[in-house]
């Protein structure tokens, strides 16, 4: 059903149709309308037998999700920014225990300085946790990725985080085709846990593992991530056959057919980027974009394959790796070690990434004038003044 709906509420609708059995969240900032809308549905009985558990912190939210999932329930939660950092210890545990929890991460900056706006810094903190990280380009994409996320998580027994740009997507009202309940039911069978905590048949999970086996446990987790790289495209194909639209997968190219310069990016900036690329294409520049949908596990082979004919790469990302190029840029560089690559850091702390700025970036890239690392739209005068002031002090 096509609806003009706020991003957060669209996610709540999609998650509701996935029939979660336990939703646990810390319902105060940083949080979105997703949890509020799901809370209303649970209270009205619409999601029965789903239980909504209100807790005192994000650490508790993830811990309760772990308990619920281990007891055999389909578990969902959502967080953002500092909330993710506060739950991070339990985030690692969920992956280590192989529990198929699905979590929405409404991407926001990490302080200090205090900032509530969008960027991808929070997701970078979860990069190596063992969760699968998917990035949505639009609210339609975010809805569709959630439906796929439950299937992916439960097939592999691995938790999945769906990242969507905080505010830019979560607070945007736009048309979204919400999946029908019967289609979701046909696509996503009820959760059958691999093992269940059951008082009648007691087992321990998460017991101590010593040096004699810890590495093997972690290696098995590594192999499961490689399995994910094979499964994600299959689930995307199945989704597309069931719902008649494309979503998910590892990477998605845009106007890549003869592209010499390719911009690699994740999330909602791809929309503005595509508009900018269309304009540069009119000026006969051979430019394309590669959207990274699956950020973890990083699809090295798919990225290398998509970029095999490109001669110049620009990695545009909303997170900073102080002193180095961006995290995504490093991943792409490992996938295509011989291609010249520029790392562009942009949109930090909610700074709008405008089409004009992207066009200027593309023009510089096309003329080979883009440095190894650039911060887009930097206020150079403010930076110079602060550097001068600090030089005076030291």
């Amino acid at each position: 059903m096509l609806a003009q709906i706020e991003g957060s509420k669209a996610i709540a609708e999609a998650v509701a149709r996935c029939r979660p059995e336990v939703v646990c969240a810390y319902p105060i900032s940083p949080q979105t309308h997703i949890i509020e809308a799901i809370g209303v549905k649970v209270k009205s009985g619409e999601l029965a037998p789903c239980e909504f558990i209100n807790v005192e912190s994000e650490f508790a939210a993830m811990s309760v999700s772990i308990g619920a999932s281990a007891a055999g329930a389909r578990a969902y939660t959502a967080t953002a920014s500092q909330g993710l950092l506060f739950m991070l210890e339990a985030v690692y545990s969920a992956a280590g225990l192989g529990l198929p929890i699905v979590m929405t991460l409404a991407n926001r900056a990490i302080g200090a300085p205090i900032n509530i706006w969008n960027d991808h810094s929070d997701a970078m903190a979860a990069r190596d946790t063992g969760w699968i990280l998917l990035f949505a380009e639009s609210n339609q994409d975010a809805v569709d990725l959630h439906v796929q996320a439950f299937k992916l998580a439960e097939t592999l027994s691995v938790p999945v985080m769906v990242c969507m740009d905080g505010f830019i997507l979560t607070h945007a009202v736009e048309g979204v085709d919400l999946p029908d309940q019967e289609n979701v039911d046909a696509f996503l069978p009820p959760y059958v846990p691999r093992q269940v905590l059951d008082p009648d048949q007691p087992v321990s999970i998460g017991a101590m593992v010593g040096p004699e086996a810890f590495e093997e446990v972690k290696y098995l987790a590594h192999l499961r991530q490689l399995d994910a790289l094979a499964l994600i495209p299959r689930i995307a194909t199945e989704f597309s056959e069931s719902f008649n639209r494309d979503a998910g997968g590892l990477v998605r190219g845009y106007r890549m057919e003869d592209a010499e310069t390719v911009v690699i990016a994740m999330g909602s900036v791809l929309g503005t980027l595509k508009d900018a690329i269309d304009l540069r294409r009119e000026a006969r520049e051979k430019i394309g974009a590669l959207g990274i949908t699956t950020f973890r596990p990083f699809p090295e082979a798919a990225v290398a394959d998509a970029l095999r004919s490109a001669t110049r790469l620009v990695v545009l990302e909303k997170a900073v790796n102080p002193g180095g190029r961006g995290v995504l840029a490093s991943d792409v560089a490992l996938s295509v070690p011989r291609s010249p690559l520029s790392s562009v850091i942009a949109g930090l702390g909610g700074r709008p990434i405008t089409r004009a700025s992207l066009e200027a970036m593309l023009a510089r890239a096309a003329s080979g004038d883009l440095p190894a690392v650039t911060f887009l739209d930097l206020d150079e005068a403010a930076v110079a003044a602060e550097r001068a002031r600090l030089a005076d002090v030291t």
Partner: protein, 191 residues
């Protein structure tokens, strides 16, 4: 693509207005995108929201910087915030005020503006119909009259979808009244 920027103060329903407008356009088969300027939602503080309407998919996520229409819910903002920033010279301006446009001190702006400007006493109309000084729904009726981008009936339906029962009824009545005021009094530049 038709781009709208709405200026008002926290508590006046600036974000809700953009959302209702997008719902109205969506109901008429168009693509629509509404979103707030984030982080400034404090009662009384200047707040901005955006809406885009198009016949094809809207992909951009940048703020509306070159609007085709500007809705000003609070007239005290016109000399405090650069409300006309980026406005197309042939665009539309709708200001919530009971004063005539000539009394607003906008001579400098009007000297370079070839579009259509209208004023509408939306707060007074809201007080009359709702009993509360919430001008947002009324102004959307004025927007329909001024630009023709959406129909009054679509605005009416979107208002009732957002506010059920008597509140929807009263907001809708205010929007109809504002539509009539603006349609009767649109001045392409008060000379």
């Amino acid at each position: 693509m038709f781009q709208i920027r709405i200026h008002g103060r926290g508590g006046q329903g600036v974000v809700t207005a953009a959302e209702i407008l997008s719902v109205a356009a969506f109901a008429e088969g168009r693509h629509a995108q509404a979103f707030p300027s984030f982080g400034s939602e404090r009662t009384g503080a200047p707040v901005v929201s955006y809406c885009r309407l198009d016949d094809r998919e809207i992909r951009t996520r940048e703020p509306v910087m070159v609007p085709d229409a500007i809705l000003i819910q609070d007239v005290t903002l016109i000399h405090q915030v650069d409300v006309f920033s980026g406005l197309s010279a042939t665009g539309f301006v709708l200001i919530n005020t009971s004063r005539p446009a000539a009394d607003l001190g906008l001579e400098d702006f009007l000297a370079h503006f070839a579009g259509a400007l209208a004023t509408c006493p939306a707060t007074e109309l809201a007080l009359e119909h709702l009993g509360r000084p919430l001008p947002n729904a009324a102004l959307l009726g004025g927007f329909a009259a001024l630009t023709g981008e959406v129909s009054l009936s679509a605005i009416d339906a979107a208002i009732r979808e957002r506010f059920s029962g008597a509140v929807g009824e009263k907001n809708s009545a205010a929007a109809h009244a504002a539509f009539d005021v603006v349609r009767g009094g649109v001045s392409a530049r008060p000379d």
